[in-house]
């Protein structure tokens, strides 16, 4: 177990590095560029009116403090990190005086829910079908699934979400296409509310699943067609071991490790897909919040969401990587 502790330590070090580099990128993109966000904000605010220069100056000072832009670059850098560490990005400008962190905490569960449900379905379904297709190479229905998956997999999430939206919103309007639940329905532990949440989640989940399943299917099929040439599979077949047993305990079980690693590596992309899909369906998660923040010029909120995204994804990848060795006897015991 000491070995595992060491691994946890090393992997956590990598996590710290990801967060460090990510937050630095966020800082330098926002602070080390010649563009001054305050001037931009004031310009936006005063675009249609004559502003009192003194008021402008006061606003400037207030915004400077609010955004943590006082002092030289180094002082700003320290302030920035303190904000990240306390998860306090100040109040949101567009939803003043609600703190940015509150808005993010409100949006995070929706993103997490959408992403995890869609990922579990597409990862599970894609790997199951892909595994079968890799093992039963001559099965015609599975070949057809393969053709469909090859067509779906390269389509970016946005385009897929858009197609789903058009199909079910305009061509055959049977499902709600926007929001997370019926607007006038009070939130609470009621059946009606859950039903509504379920219905509203269907299309975003569907569009994520279509692309995701295709991708996992293709990856798993390729992986399995390699695994079936492994000596232990050939030997089990020679030994007359039950075919289902071979498929599950020999082929799928060995592919699982690679696919879990794959999941950790593609979390960034999966997260990307989820927030983009939210935008299309007006789903109240981080993605939607991010877009609204940009439209509203809400500086603190944009930075808060970008930082949170980086940390959240890195954390999820960390969790998966820490679980992975427990699945593999070769590293579990070593």
């Amino acid at each position: 177990m000491a070995a595992y502790a060491l691994y946890v330590l090393r992997r956590s070090g990598q996590f710290v590095l990801v967060v460090f580099v990510g937050i630095n990128i966020a800082f330098f993109v926002t602070h080390a560029t010649p563009i001054d966000p305050i001037t931009a904000a004031i310009a936006a605010a005063t675009r249609f009116s004559q502003a009192d220069p003194q008021a402008v100056q006061l606003t400037r000072e207030a915004l400077r403090e609010l955004y943590g832009l006082q002092g030289n670059l180094w002082q700003q850098y320290v302030v920035f990190w303190m904000r990240v560490a306390r998860a306090d990005f100040g109040p949101s400008l567009s939803a003043f005086p609600t703190p940015v962190s509150t808005l993010i905490w409100r949006a995070l569960p929706w993103t997490f829910g959408l992403l995890s449900v869609a990922t579990l379905i597409s990862w599970g379904l894609g790997n199951l079908l892909g595994g079968l297709a890799g093992y039963y190479r001559r099965n015609v229905p599975l070949k057809l699934v393969g053709v469909v998956a090859s067509g779906l997999q390269p389509i970016p999430n946005y385009v897929m979400a858009f197609i789903v939206l058009v199909l079910f919103g305009y061509v055959w309007p049977i499902l709600p296409i926007t929001g997370s639940s019926q607007i006038n329905l009070p939130q609470g532990w009621t059946l009606a509310y859950f039903q509504s949440v379920f219905q509203h989640a269907l299309l975003p989940v569907l569009s994520l699943v279509l692309v995701g399943t295709g991708a996992w299917f293709i990856g798993m099929r390729a992986l399995v067609s390699n695994i079936v040439t492994e000596d232990y599979v050939a030997y089990a077949e020679l030994g007359g071991v039950d075919r289902w047993r071979i498929l599950i305990s020999y082929v799928m079980r060995n592919a699982l490790l690679t696919q879990v690693t794959g999941l950790a590596l593609s979390l960034g992309l999966i997260f990307n897909g989820a927030v983009i899909t939210e935008v299309v369906f007006g789903y109240p998660g981080l993605g939607n919040l991010l877009i609204r923040a940009v439209y509203a010029g809400d500086y603190s909120l944009v930075i808060g969401i970008a930082s949170t995204s980086i940390i959240a994804v890195a954390f999820a990848a960390l969790v998966i990587d820490l679980v992975l060795p427990l699945l593999d006897p070769r590293v579990r015991v070593a």
Partner: protein, 284 residues
């Protein structure tokens, strides 16, 4: 000429091990010392099982892997000093490798003569095309091939034996003093194996090349080599004249190794050959 051609002194290579978890260290080569005399060309067999560190040793002698401690001196010069392109080329003129798998030793996407010509140009200093052809052909003749058999061929168009002999010819182009051969016949078919081993004997006798013959096979080592070094887990356990060591090994490991070698003469009288059994007894 006198002195030592090759001098290996207290050579150690330590590797860190451990994949995902943990870190350990072990000595792949552990305090190994031996010498090869410059005056008398010889075949020195380095015998060990898998994991004995013999390949690591070969890589260090070829100067493609740096030792952790200890020294390797070639003609008195420490290999640590062989830095920079010119010195490296000078070193390669004198020390050449022969690799284990003849099918892997040539890039399958390239013609084999490319390596021969590169050696002729860069190592033997052949300037004109004619000089190059001559150098290459000379070397091929020495191994019983000719340029016409090899020129323009891709590796898959030649047999394992031909490839291995081409590799040896390439190594000979710069007239080296030392050849380091790492398991050179383990991947060569039985009917061709002895031609390679015999060739080593001829290189020593006719071209006066010393050869480090790295192998796990005691029988061919006995057949061709002058001296042997037996290594176990990176350590030298026994060394001496081939005949002496292989006929009368002293160290318990050498004894065990020799006793384990199967002999074709055991036919019909294998150690475990007892009474032929009756049809199977069915008591479970």
């Amino acid at each position: 000429m006198s002195g030592n051609l090759l001098e290996v002194e207290r050579l150690t290579k330590r590797f860190a091990i451990g994949g995902l978890f943990g870190r350990g260290r072990f000595n792949a080569v552990d305090d190994v010392s031996f010498k090869v005399d410059a005056g008398q060309p010889q075949i020195l067999a380095i015998i060990g099982e898998s994991g004995s560190g013999k390949t690591t040793l070969a890589r260090m002698i070829l100067n493609t892997l740096a030792p952790t401690s200890g020294a390797i001196r070639f003609r008195g010069q420490d290999l640590l000093g062989v830095r920079g392109r010119k010195r490296r080329l000078d070193f390669m003129r004198e020390v050449q490798p022969i690799l284990q798998n003849p099918y892997e030793a040539f890039n399958p996407l390239k013609r084999v003569d490319r390596y021969l010509y590169a050696s002729a140009t860069r190592l033997a200093g052949a300037k004109s095309q004619k000089a190059r052809d001559e150098a290459v052909n000379d070397a091929l003749q020495k191994v019983g091939l000719s340029l016409t058999e090899v020129k323009g061929r891709f590796p898959h168009e030649l047999s394992g034996g031909q490839l291995q002999r081409t590799a040896i010819a390439r190594a000979l182009i710069s007239s080296p003093a030392l050849i380091v051969a790492d398991e050179p016949v383990s991947m060569v078919d039985a009917s061709l194996r002895m031609s390679i081993v015999n060739l080593f004997g001829r290189l020593r006798d006719e071209l006066r090349v010393s050869i480090l013959y790295i192998t796990h096979d005691l029988a061919t080592a006995y057949y061709v080599s002058d001296r042997v070094i037996i290594i176990q887990k990176g350590k030298v356990v026994e060394t001496g004249p081939a005949r002496e060591v292989l006929i009368h090994p002293q160290h318990p490991y050498s004894v065990l190794l020799k006793e384990s070698v199967l002999s074709p003469d055991d036919v019909g009288q294998g150690a475990w050959e007892g009474e032929r059994p009756r049809p199977p007894s069915q008591t479970a």
